[in-house]
C-alpha cells in the first residue's frame, strides 16, 4: 500500500479531492432524501456502505418512495449496476494481483475509479489512481450519507449548484485522452448514439450497456486500417 501512495502526485490527489467533494454533496443529499422518504437513518447508511453505487441507491430509494415494491427497487438497481461487470473485465488488472486486493478492490469498482485508472498511461500509476480514488470516494460518500441522514431536510437541491453537471464533466475530462485513438472514439460515438436512442424505451441502465454495440465500430475501423497500409 505504501508504494501506492508514493506513486501519487499532488496533481492527481487534487483531482481526486475534487471528485470526492462532489460525491460528498451528492451523498449528503442521498441521506437526506432517504430519511425524507421515510427510511430510518441507518438504512441509507448501511446501503451506502454495502452497495456503494450512487445511481443505483438513488434509483432504489426513488422506486420505493414512489410506491414501487422492494423487489422492483432491487431489480432496477441491479440493471443499473450491471455495467460493473464489463468494467471489471476491462480494468480488472489494475486492482492488483492478490486475492485480498481483488476482494476489496472490486468493491471500489465505480465509474469514477475506472475513469481515473484508464486516464493513466503507466500501469503503476493507474493502480495508484484507482485505489486513491476508490478509498477517498468511499470515505467521502459514506461520511456524507451519515451526515445527510442525520441532518435531514436542511440540504438544498444539489441541482441548484449544477452538481449533476459536475459528474459527467469529470468523466468526460478523464476519458478525453483515450478518445484520441480513432477506434476507441468511433466505438464510443456509436455506442453513445445507441444509448441515447434507446433511453426513451428502456429501463435506466440498459441503454448504457447497449452502448457496447459500439464496439462494432472499433472492429470495422481496425479492418479499414489494415487494408490501407
Amino acid at each position: 500500500m505504501r508504494s501506492i501512495w508514493r506513486t501519487l502526485d499532488p496533481e492527481l490527489l487534487r483531482d481526486v479531492a475534487a471528485v470526492a467533494a462532489g460525491a460528498a454533496v451528492n451523498g449528503a443529499s442521498f441521506g437526506a432524501i432517504s430519511v425524507a422518504a421515510g427510511l430510518p437513518w441507518w438504512l441509507p447508511v448501511l446501503m451506502s456502505l454495502l452497495v456503494f453505487a450512487g445511481g443505483a441507491q438513488f434509483m432504489a430509494v426513488g422506486v420505493v418512495a414512489s410506491g414501487g415494491s422492494p423487489a422492483a427497487a432491487v431489480v432496477a438497481g441491479l440493471v443499473l449496476n450491471a455495467r460493473h461487470l464489463p468494467f471489471g473485465l476491462a480494468v480488472g488488472d489494475v486492482l492488483g494481483r492478490g486475492l485480498l486486493a481483488r476482494l476489496i478492490g472490486s468493491h471500489l469498482l465505480i465509474d469514477e475509479t475506472v475513469a481515473f485508472a484508464i486516464a493513466q498511461r503507466d500501469p503503476a500509476k493507474a493502480r495508484a489512481a484507482y485505489w486513491a480514488c476508490g478509498t477517498s470516494l468511499f470515505a467521502a460518500w459514506n461520511l456524507a450519507v451519515v451526515a445527510g441522514a442525520l441532518v435531514g431536510q436542511a440540504i438544498g437541491d444539489p441541482g441548484a449548484f449544477g452538481l449533476d453537471a459536475a459528474f459527467p464533466a469529470a468523466l468526460l475530462a478523464l476519458t478525453l485522452p483515450a478518445l484520441k485513438d480513432p477506434r476507441t472514439r468511433n466505438a464510443a460515438l456509436l455506442g453513445s448514439a445507441v444509448a441515447l436512442a434507446t433511453t426513451p424505451f428502456l429501463p435506466a441502465g440498459l441503454p448504457v450497456l447497449l452502448a457496447l454495440t459500439g464496439l462494432v465500430a472499433a472492429m470495422t475501423t481496425r479492418q479499414e486500417a489494415r487494408t490501407c497500409p
Binding site: L85, L109, G162, A170
Partner: protein
C-alpha cells in the same frame, strides 16, 4: 424498504464487480478480444456521460445540464486543469438555472 432488499442489491452489485477481475484471468482470450475489452470501459463511460448530460428519466434533461457539461468538456479539451473543468461545468449549469433556463 426492508434490509433484505438492501442486502440482495449489495450482493448482486458485488457479484457484478467481482466477476470481471476474477474472470479476466480464467479466460484465455485472444489479444484482439482483450483490446476490445479495454476499449469497452471508455465506451461505457462516454455513453454514461452522454445519457447523464442529455437525459433525465426517459426524457430530455433540458438545456442547462448539457450546456454545463459542454463547457466543461471544451475546457478539458483546451487542457484546463481538472478542478477548473468540474467547477466550470457546475457553475455554468447552476448559472443557467438561476437565470431560469431549465
Amino acid at each position: 424498504m426492508p434490509v433484505t432488499a438492501v442486502l440482495v442489491l449489495a450482493a448482486g452489485t458485488y457479484a457484478f464487480r467481482l466477476a470481471g477481475p476474477l474472470l479476466r484471468d480464467r479466460l484465455r482470450l485472444p489479444d484482439r478480444v482483450k483490446e476490445l475489452m479495454s476499449i469497452s470501459a471508455t465506451v461505457l463511460l462516454v455513453a454514461l456521460v452522454a445519457t447523464a448530460s442529455l437525459t433525465r428519466g426517459q426524457g430530455f434533461a433540458g438545456w442547462a445540464l448539457p450546456a454545463g457539461v459542454l463547457v466543461g468538456g471544451l475546457a478539458a479539451w483546451r487542457k484546463a486543469p481538472f478542478v477548473v473543468v468540474v467547477l466550470l461545468a457546475a457553475a455554468t449549469t447552476a448559472g443557467l438555472r438561476y437565470l431560469g433556463v431549465e
